[in-house]
Amino acid sequence: MTEQKTVHDYLRQKKKFPTVWCPGCGIGTVMNALIRAISSLGLEKDEIVLVSGIGCSSRMPVYLDFNTLHTTHGRAIAFATGIKLFNPKLKVIVITGDGDGLAIGGNHIIHASRRNIDITTILINNYIYGMTGGQVSPTTPEGDYTYTSPYGNLEPQFDTFRLCDGAGATFFARTTTYHVVQMTTFIKKAIMHKGFSVVEVMSQCPTLYGRLNKCPGPVDQLKMFKEFAVPFAKAEKMTKEELKGKIITGILKEVESPEYTERYWRLVETFKKGSEYEGKD
């Protein structure tokens, strides 16, 4: 049996802690679950690439001892596509948030879903822009308050599952920071899934979202997640009215479909030509 690794073995020793995250933030919980998932899958640190964009959640890779690429706002999936396509042996995991992944990066999550490229995206959804100080995001519930929706949000919420499902993602799971064991299981399954997989983790932002929406304590928000979470199987039997405001958790989609990098490299193999430049063909 291999030596049991602790969470600390996956943290960067040279990097000065503490993290940028506020006390009570849920992102650390997700980081913990990600480490446990990678560790229990027995994956080597060298074969993991973490790619992120900009935002609170996107700071996670910096603290972790993998190959880490902290990119521009919204574009992590596009960068990840280049890495995966050129070196399919690497396990490429994207860490993103609701603003980074669904607003500015919305186009890329759609097209990665459509290509069904073997990338795992962990989307930490805290309903708000945290790093810039609490602005409305595509997942802020209607009527909720943020600094750019001071009279209540007028826009409907994005449903990440329906978006990714419609675009062709082949794995989608949703969980919350309350359901930590489930979260680890889902991340493991997503990493092992061949194709574009998304794990949406509903997370608390007590400093901004909670404070502006009369739920200032992290524990209050976790209790809410516990209360509002409805397992997928149960949700299927409930009416639309009953599901209002609920969070449907579980593996919502898991199907097999041809994966893009595999398709691409199979095409290359049909040619079997050297890469040496032999003049114009």
Binding site: K14, F79, G82, H111
Partner: protein
């Protein structure tokens, strides 16, 4: 290795650019279709899979450069090709590549602007965008070919420079060079040296991805080779971690500048014609320089002491030879297909006593020899 035969072809500038990229070992192309650069993507879509490389068409130009940079981080020699509007969309990632020191080649086949402008007509109006397009301080490398053979050789050089200096390199083709057909010998005779990025000489435990070396170049291996490190567009320390320590910020920005500017004389290249005894000088690049060469030859027949100075790298601008040459001139004419961009550089390097005249055309047509000659006569009145 097979015997390589040097053969003559009649190719477009865009086609020659593709051949140059393949000669340099390009094995990844990501991009988005845009006129007048599309032939580059189309040809690579055909050729790269056959050679074990990757071609992908992305959802927009932003993703087009992002995918290229991702591939480069994984070890690819990667490029993209675009035109004005796409080049505008790529600016954030050009800045990212510069800051994070990721090599990549970006071809911009210039068309008329601003905005959607003139998709199928020639222009040279992206000189300043290539220099100052990104936010923050920036020392870019920008090459400007003026012929089909140069489109090939400059593309090879662009990859060499990107791999040597670990930085994005821009090639500015203009619509005329991109679509013009000319004779070219492939592979080139004599062959051009091909450079690939260095690997670190130290084991992972001693490795700093952004070490402050005298040259400013710090070799980094591709992801997945046992050296785990962080890359970020945030200003970072030698380990690649975000920093807000003033000393570390200054050191990083100095490193980026030093890397390019200490070697500016080596990077910058130029060409001259009839400048030995010239008292008047035309400065031009790209397609326009060919018209100017004709003008210089015509005027020489009339015993006019006029010469041509053609920067082959626009940035870094060939400053030393320019100063040297400009000092001897009675008049300088800067001919461009825009409202006057390189003229500012020329004015900077010319003595204030030397008058500098701009000869500009920006109506979607190439300037004619007659128009240049008339403008020169007018200036001399």
């Amino acid at each position: 290795m097979k015997e390589k035969k040097n053969k003559e072809y009649l190719l477009q500038g865009n086609e020659a650019c593709v051949e140059g990229a393949l000669y340099a070992g390009c094995n990844f192309f990501g991009g988005y279709p845009i006129t007048p650069s599309t032939e580059i993507a189309e040809l690579l879509a055909q050729k790269l899979p056959k050679r074990g490389g990757v071609f992908i068409q992305m959802e927009d130009e932003i993703a087009g450069l992002a995918v290229v940079l991702g591939a480069s981080v994984a070890g690819a020699k990667a490029m993209t090709a675009t035109s004005g509007p796409g080049f505008s969309l790529m600016q954030e990632h050009i800045g990212y590549a510069y800051m994070t020191e990721i090599p990549a080649v970006i071809v911009n086949v210039m068309r008329g602007g601003p905005s959607t402008g003139l998709p199928t007509l020639p222009s040279q109006s992206d000189f300043m965008q290539a220099r100052y397009g990104i936010h923050g301080d920036y020392y870019p490398i920008v090459l400007v070919p003026a012929s089909v053979p140069e489109s090939f050789s400059f593309t090879v050089r662009a990859f060499n420079l990107a791999e040597t200096f670990l930085t994005p390199v821009v090639i500015l083709l203009d619509e005329i060079i991109g679509h013009m057909r000319e004779k070219i010998v492939i592979p080139p005779d004599p062959p051009i040296e091909v450079v690939s990025r260095q690997m670190p000489k130290v084991p992972p435990e001693w490795f700093y991805p952004y070490e402050l070396t005298p040259s400013g170049i710090s070799p980094r291996p591709p992801f997945g080779r046992g050296y785990r490190y962080n890359i970020t567009g945030l200003t970072h320390d030698i380990s690649g971690y975000p920093t807000s320590v003033p000393k570390e910020i200054r050191e990083k920005l100095d490193k980026l500048k030093r890397k390019i500017m200490n070697k500016a004389d080596e990077i910058s290249r130029y060409d001259t014609e009839f400048t030995e005894d010239a008292r008047e000088l035309i400065v031009a690049v790209g397609s326009v320089s060919r018209v100017c060469r004709f003008v210089v030859r015509e005027l020489r027949k009339k015993r006019k002491k006029i010469g041509l100075f053609r920067p082959q790298t626009l940035w870094p601008f060939p400053e030393k030879p320019a100063r040297e040459l400009f000092r001897r001139m009675r008049r300088i004419f800067v001919v461009e297909l825009n409202q006057g961009q390189i003229i500012r550089e020329v004015e900077r390097f010319a003595k204030s006593s030397v008058p500098v005249f701009g000869i500009n055309k920006y109506d979607g047509e190439l300037i004619t020899p007659e128009e240049i000659i008339d403008a020169i006569r007018e200036a001399e009145k």
